[in-house]
C-alpha cells in the first residue's frame, strides 16, 4: 500500500491552441507537525512544492503551505502547443520526490 497516490485527469488529445484543463488529486497526509504537550510529537511532513513541465518547459508551479488539507486537489490549465509529455513533480519535507507523467497528443 503506497502512501502517495496520484490521479491526473486531462484529455489525451487536443488541437493546437486549445486550453487544456488538468486536474490533479494526490493522496498525502500533509502532516503539519504536532508539538503540543501530552501528544506524541510528529515532525512536519507536507508536500511543499508541486511543479509541472510540458515538453520541457515549466507550465505550472505551486508552493503548498501547512494549512492545506490532506489529499490536496489542484486544477490548472495550459495551452496545447505540441505533442509532448507533461512531467509532474511533488517535493516533500525530508527530501522525498514523487514523479508522474502524462502524454498529450496535439493535432
Amino acid at each position: 500500500m503506497t502512501e502517495f497516490t496520484a490521479r491526473i485527469t486531462m484529455p489525451e488529445t487536443a488541437r493546437r491552441g486549445d486550453v487544456v484543463p488538468i486536474r490533479v488529486i494526490v493522496r498525502h497526509p500533509m502532516e503539519r507537525e504536532i508539538t503540543a504537550a501530552g501528544l506524541t510529537p510528529l515532525p512536519r511532513r507536507i508536500i511543499h512544492s508541486f511543479r509541472v513541465t510540458y515538453a520541457g518547459e515549466e507550465v505550472f508551479r505551486m508552493a503548498l503551505s501547512a494549512g492545506i488539507t490532506a489529499n490536496p486537489y489542484v486544477a490548472f490549465t495550459t495551452v496545447a502547443t505540441e505533442t509532448g509529455t507533461l512531467h509532474f513533480e511533488w517535493q516533500e519535507d525530508g527530501g522525498a520526490v514523487h514523479r508522474r507523467e502524462a502524454r498529450l497528443v496535439v493535432t
Binding site: 500500500m1 503506497t2 497516490t5 490521479r7 485527469t9 486536474r23 488529486i25 494526490v26 493522496r27 488539507t69 490532506a70 489529499n71 486537489y73 486544477a75
Partner: protein
C-alpha cells in the same frame, strides 16, 4: 382509468411510505457535484488502490472471481447471512475470504487495505438499487437492527429515528440531517480527511448521543447495517460517497 392511475400512485406512495430519500439529496449542490466527479473526489484514490489489491498476489481475488467488473451488484445485496449463519457485511466477507480461500491474514477492520478493497468492490454497484434479502435466515438480524434503530440510547436518550426520521432535512450544527442510510460507505468524510467505514460513522453517531461506542464489525452495528440497507431498498448505492 383515472381511478386505476390513482391506485397506482397510491401504491408508489406506499412503497416510499417512510419517505426515505437518497443520501445524495441531502448534500449541498457543490458536494453532490464533487461526489459525481472522479477527477476531484479523493475517494477514488482508495478505489484505485483497491483495484490494484484485487489483482495483487498469486492467489489474488481476480484468480477466483475474474475481473472486478463482475462484482457489479454485490454491494447492493450486503450485509448477507453466510452459510454458517453469521451475518457478514462486505468488509467481513472480504476478511473471511482472505482467511479461508487466500490463506492470508485478515487486513484488519478500518485498515487502509480493507477500506480500499471494499470501496473498489462497492463502487462497481454505484447507481444500482439496494436490494438486500431480509427473509429466512436474515429475518432475526433485521428485527435486531430495527430494534436497535428504535431504541433510545445514551445520555441524550435519543433513538436513531428521532434525528433521521423526525428531523431529516433540518440542520444540526453545520450539516443537514439525512435519512441516515449507509449507501455511500466506505465514504470520504471531510471531517476525517480520509475514507472510513459505515461502522466508524456509526461510532460517531453513538458518541453524538453520548452512548457507548460499540466495536467495529460488532453484532449490533451489523444488525443495524442490515436494517439501514433494507430501509434504503430501491435507492442507489453511492460508494464512494463524499460526506461532511
Amino acid at each position: 382509468m383515472k381511478r386505476a392511475l390513482a391506485a397506482l400512485l397510491c401504491c408508489v406512495g406506499l412503497a416510499q411510505a417512510d419517505g426515505v430519500r437518497p443520501s445524495r439529496e441531502f448534500l449541498s449542490p457543490e458536494l453532490r457535484a464533487q461526489q459525481d466527479d472522479p477527477s476531484r473526489h479523493p475517494g477514488w484514490l482508495w478505489v484505485d488502490d483497491g483495484e490494484a489489491l484485487w489483482r495483487a498476489g498469486e492467489r489474488s481475488c481476480q484468480s477466483c472471481h475474474g475481473d472486478i467488473a463482475g462484482m457489479a451488484g454485490v454491494a447492493a445485496r450486503y450485509p448477507a447471512v453466510a452459510a454458517d449463519g453469521a451475518l457478514l457485511n462486505l468488509e467481513l466477507r472480504i476478511e473471511r475470504c482472505r482467511e479461508e480461500h487466500q490463506g492470508a491474514p485478515r487486513f484488519g477492520y478500518e485498515g487502509q487495505a480493507l477500506l480500499s478493497l471494499t470501496a473498489a468492490i462497492a463502487q462497481r454497484s454505484r447507481g444500482l438499487p439496494m436490494s438486500v434479502p431480509v427473509d429466512g435466515a436474515a429475518a432475526p438480524f433485521l428485527e435486531r437492527g430495527r430494534e436497535f434503530y428504535a431504541t433510545r440510547q445514551g445520555q441524550l436518550n435519543l433513538s436513531c429515528g428521532q434525528c433521521h426520521d423526525e428531523n431529516a432535512g433540518r440542520r444540526l450544527r453545520g450539516d443537514v440531517i439525512s435519512n441516515g442510510l449507509g449507501t455511500g460507505y466506505p465514504a470520504y468524510r471531510l471531517e476525517w480527511n480520509t475514507l472510513g467505514s459505515l461502522h466508524r460513522r456509526l461510532r460517531a453517531c453513538s458518541l453524538g448521543v453520548r452512548a457507548e461506542q460499540l466495536p467495529l464489525g460488532g453484532a449490533d452495528y451489523l444488525a443495524l447495517e442490515l436494517f439501514l440497507a433494507h430501509r434504503a431498498r430501491g435507492l442507489p448505492v453511492e460508494t464512494p460517497g463524499l460526506r461532511r
